[in-house]
Amino acid sequence: MTLGLLAQATSGGDPLYAGDIDLAVVLITALKVVVCFVFLLVATMLMVWFERKVIAGMQNRVGPNKAGPFGILQTLADGIKAFFKERINPERADPFVYRLAPYLAFVPAFLTFSVVPVGGSFADGNDGVVTIFGHETFLQVADPPVGILFVLALSSIAVYGIMLAGWSSGSKYPLLGSVRASAQMVSYEAALGLSVATVLLVAGTLSTNGIVAEQDTMRDWNIVTTGLLPFVVFVIAATAELNRPPFDLVEAEQELVGGFHTEYSAIGFALFYLAEFMNTVTWSAIIVTLFLGGPQALFGIDLPIIPGAIQGVIWFFLKLVVFLFMYVWFRATLPRFRYDQLMDLGWKVLIPVAFGWFLFLTTLRITRDLEWTRSGQIMAGAAAVVVAVAGYALFLAALRVSARQRETHGSLF
């Protein structure tokens, strides 16, 4: 009953909850949750293997090749080992928080994926509805009206997992690692949010399903409609958000031993490790959803025989793998940033650029909505560019002044 009311309140959501909530609906939801859970675990397992294999190739090595064909079961073996190892609680650790932290990192990684539409037919203006057991539904666990905000909220919660892990370990290096992590994630969340805002501006909806449905042809993909820049900013910020190289200062081995999870062993460590790779998968999925049309077909290709909904799944995974490979490639290629470089990139480059671009797009949108003439639109656009450039010049001037001040007067920091 409550669920039904909730569903009515959120109009335009998953059609599964539009009618009465009967047993079948509950079972379908449960099925989707289980499938999503299992899929993510398997995907994470394969991602770890994929990363190790690809990075081995890039370093002229072989990579895991003993457990199972091509070593594909290596992660399983590692996982089983980790789960059977002794759990060690450091004497000075806060027992409750120390145990809670891995789950705080792990659960958001799962939940984020629940709003990602993994399949369904979006071609010809379809909104990705598929029919399972006679019920119409989306191929995603949930389609909350807040959609993408839910993702941002969960990525903030994941910071707590890392922060509390470092703090509760009762040890210095983990604490330093978690302080770095929280500073880094908060910094890059701003750039992340601003580039998401441009997508929302274009899409006009927060719902992930709506965002995908709106990117009908390749020309409508948000990577094109938002002008590439937010995509680049988002990818960089997401890499920082994931604490993956070149932004892996959180676990910079040379400086911080293992970073925030130094004191963790056995299952706690396994959960952090799992969460890290699962986040890589989920954030790649979110990039695909936001900018590359999720399950939308490439060039409008219609694969023969395969039904449309399954085609969507195939396209989604193809795009996903591209980004997973990109993350591995980053790791193999780029050296780690220094901490001040990291902060410089975040605050002095990504945020101003994302913000300026957002304002520019907003200007264009407003002039179009107000139905200005074409020359008027161009004028407004030019004015926006001039303002942005002037603003950035002022910003750089301010930076130079403060740098000179630091030179002459010294700095506390």
């Binding site: 690809v54 190739g57 890039m58 370093q59 002229n60 090595r61 072989v62 090749n65 490639w329 193999a332 290629t333 780029l334």
Partner: protein
């Protein structure tokens, strides 16, 4: 565009994009067919020791304990005893009746080989020490002494391939025991079971023509392999 070039560098390392894989797939005896090969080892690799015997089968070790004395890791334990007059083990007065090397301690510095006055202890090219308990790490005389064919004994955890039992005797000892250049090319070592009196090592100039480099450890694997095979051949020729 420096960053993007960097990306190309890593991409090109993948074998599908023309990269070269440098890791050899070696399984230690649990291999799966084709992807299981041992790397070529350099000719002076310090592997596990063997206790050599003379051509007549007598053990070379005289139980003098110089190897134990010189060992910086204190991994060798030797006890000498008088040879039984009716069935002597070594041609001298005494023989090593206890000879143990603990391979959890051994650093393969080869000082024992340098110290040995009778060339009894030498290092083979075998490197597989994959025992599963500490007791197995202590190799006793029974395991170290060469077999009746003069070759090292194969231990259960050793994965031997073609030619692994070669190059186990003291052929690598400096050509002139005293280090005198004038003694180069003069046979100065005793005969050995399985190998006999070996021909002297080639002099430096000749070595350079074989290996193509003054330092054989620096030349490519293929050349080292070639050189090693040459040396093996020379030992074969040395048979009596």
């Amino acid at each position: 565009m420096g960053y993007l070039q960097g990306f190309l560098v890593t991409l090109r390392q993948i074998r599908a994009f023309g990269g070269k894989q440098v890791t050899t797939e070696y399984s230690g005896g649990q291999g799966h067919g084709s992807h299981d090969e041992k790397m070529a080892r350099t000719e002076r690799l310090h592997g596990r020791h063997v206790l050599n015997r003379y051509e007549d089968g007598m053990e070379k070790c005289i139980g003098c304990e110089l190897c134990a004395g010189v060992c910086p890791a204190k991994c060798i334990y030797v006890r000498g005893a008088d040879n039984p007059p009716d069935d002597p083990v070594s041609p001298g007065e005494r023989y090593g009746y206890v000879y143990e090397i603990n391979y959890l301690r051994c650093i393969h510095c080869d000082l024992c080989v340098e110290a040995c006055p009778t060339e009894a202890i030498t290092e083979s090219k075998l490197f597989e020490f994959s025992f599963t308990n500490r007791r197995d790490a202590v190799y006793t005389r029974d395991e170290l002494v060469v077999g009746d064919d003069g070759k090292p004994q194969q231990l259960p955890w050793e994965d031997w391939r073609e030619g692994d039992d070669l190059l186990s005797s003291g052929w690598m000892r400096a050509t002139a025991p005293s280090g005198e250049a004038g003694a180069e090319g003069v046979v100065a070592w005793s005969g050995e079971l399985g190998y006999g009196v070996r021909a002297p090592e080639p002099d430096q100039a000749e070595r350079d023509t074989v290996t193509g480099s003054p330092d054989p450890t620096l030349v490519e694997d293929a050349k080292v392999e070639h050189a090693a095979k040459d040396d093996g051949d020379r030992e074969e020729r040395g048979h009596h």
